[in-house]
């Protein structure tokens, strides 16, 4: 059973609808017990870093997430803000992140010029894959995803980066570390490309021999 965490900062409907469409059972929850008992977890997010971290703490979800993810190594997929919360910290706020990934979240910054890209990065963009990962099975450079963000990941370990994109400069958009996965873009808003990705996550087993 896939559990999609509702920490009052996000729209879960499309994620659940996509899982339904690919024939996978998924439920929404704000309950720590459901997280502990989940087979897999999705942490979505539309919002600001501090608000996200504070909600996770106030709702008592951080301990359950830490236990499920770090101790029991349940597969987890972070989406947009969800992924950013996995990092150590963000330029956007003062709170510490969950710290599961050796990465920080930084604001886009371009040299001042009339042709500098606008911030936030909003729209469809293609991605490239520095190393293969089952999360992107069946997706190639024709794949495009919807991005809507002013802050992006900077990984401290390039080997953990499984997708990059370009907006003014190249930047990290997806990371994988054992059972912990995350994507900066919104698969639930990326039509068939997102469907494929969520299908892959549902089918994925981090401990399986390939």
């Amino acid at each position: 059973m896939i559990v999609v965490v509702n920490y009052r900062l996000n729209n879960i409907g499309s994620i659940l609808a996509m899982f339904r469409k690919v024939g996978v059972e998924a439920i929404e929850t704000s309950n720590a017990e459901d997280i502990r008992r989940a087979e897999k977890i999705v942490l979505p997010g539309v919002g600001s870093f501090d608000f996200g971290m504070r909600n996770l703490h106030e709702m008592g979800l951080a301990p359950a997430l830490n236990e499920a993810v770090l101790e029991h190594r349940k597969p987890i997929l972070g989406i947009c803000l969800g992924l950013q919360l996995f990092t150590q910290s963000s330029d956007e706020g003062r709170e510490a992140g969950l710290g599961w990934l050796p990465a920080r979240t930084k604001r886009f910054a371009f040299p001042s010029s009339p042709s500098a890209p606008k911030i936030p990065h909003i729209g469809w963009n293609s991605v490239n894959f520095p190393r293969p990962h089952p999360l992107f099975a069946g997706l190639d450079d024709e794949a495009r995803f919807y991005f809507v963000h002013s802050f992006h990941l900077v990984s401290e370990d390039p080997d953990l980066v499984i997708a990059r994109s370009e907006y003014g400069y190249d930047f990290d958009v997806a990371m994988a570390r054992d059972n912990i996965l995350g994507v900066q873009f919104h698969p639930e808003k990326s039509h068939r490309f997102g469907l494929q990705l969520l299908r892959n996550f549902a089918n994925w087993s981090p401990h399986a021999r390939t």
């Binding site: 009052r8 900062l9 996000n10 729209n11 409907g13 499309s14 609808a17 996509m18 539309v46 919002g47 600001s48 608000f51 803000l81 956007e92 009339p114 500098a116 606008k118 911030i119 936030p120 909003i122 729209g123 469809w124 963009n125 293609s126 919807y146 809507v148 963000h149 002013s150 370009e166 907006y167 919104h186 639930e188 808003k189 990326s190 039509h191 068939r192 997102g194 469907l195």
Partner: protein
């Protein structure tokens, strides 16, 4: 190649989608759920839904309908119309909208803009600026479906809203609305040059070329339209039609290669 967004914009009035001309004479288009389903199937980049009666007729946001609409879409959907407080903003995200647009409220309630952006991030908060040309040829921001003049220059308004935290500005030409006269490129440039956030052009699009020009010539980051997507032919028969993502990409590529 990054392809700028092409965004159908649908006006909600009562329980149906309508199309106006210069913000007047709304004509019924059809059932919102059916229309949105078609756009989803055709894999449009993004959708905007605007309740054009919510502010002027002081109506409540149509929660059940909107929840259904949002659930049909595997692409981002933004909503505007009668958003008055942070609860409204929260609810809209909860039911599935990716972005919330403030228009009348954006100009009269700066603290709301700031609070919404601080909590949900600038990337989720859009300001929609409706603009009418004055008799002297300058531009004036209007609100309440074009019925109230603000005596405000759109570039100044846009800059103020971006400073308050809006991550995207939709600039809507009242004069071009529903006319097929093409975008007001001068207006779009004025606003696009004033802010560092993406600007979305709206009002007057007749062709895919117009949409591309709004970006490549006007400096918008995306082009929105209504009539172009919902009408067909000189008699404006209702027919939902959307160029495919491949076609859009090809047309952008062609424009960039040869300049027109």
């Amino acid at each position: 190649m990054r392809v700028p967004r092409i965004i159908p914009c649908l006006s909600l009035r009562g329980s149906g989608f309508v199309k106006t001309e210069k913000f007047k004479n709304p004509k019924y288009l059809g059932d919102p759920i059916n229309i949105v389903k078609i756009f989803n199937e055709k894999e449009v980049d993004e959708l905007m839904v605007v309740d054009i009666a919510a502010t002027t007729e002081q109506q409540q946001i149509k929660w059940p309908l909107l929840k259904q609409l949002a659930s049909e879409c595997f692409m981002p959907v933004g909503y505007g119309g009668g958003v008055r407080n942070l609860d409204d903003v929260h609810q809209l995200f909860a039911i599935g909208f990716e972005k919330v647009s403030l228009s009348s409220s954006a100009l009269s309630d700066r603290p709301l803009v700031e609070a919404a952006a601080a909590r949900y991030g600038s990337q989720s908060i859009v300001a929609t600026i409706d603009v009418r040309k004055t008799l002297f040829g300058s531009y004036d921001v209007v609100t309440h479906s074009g019925t109230k003049k603000r005596g405000l220059d759109p570039a100044v308004a846009a800059k103020s809203l971006a400073d308050a935290g809006c991550g995207e500005i939709v600039v809507n030409s009242v004069d071009r609305d529903g006319t097929y006269e093409g975008y007001d490129l001068q207006l779009i440039s004025l606003v696009a040059n004033a802010v560092g956030v993406p600007v979305v052009a709206l009002g007057g699009a007749k062709s895919l070329l117009n949409l591309i020009e709004a970006v490549e010539v006007g400096g918008a980051s995306a082009a929105a339209a209504a009539s172009f997507f919902v009408y067909h032919g000189p008699h404006r028969a209702v027919l939902i039609n959307v160029p495919s993502p491949t076609e859009i990409k090809e047309e952008f590529r062609r424009f960039r290669a040869i300049g027109k």
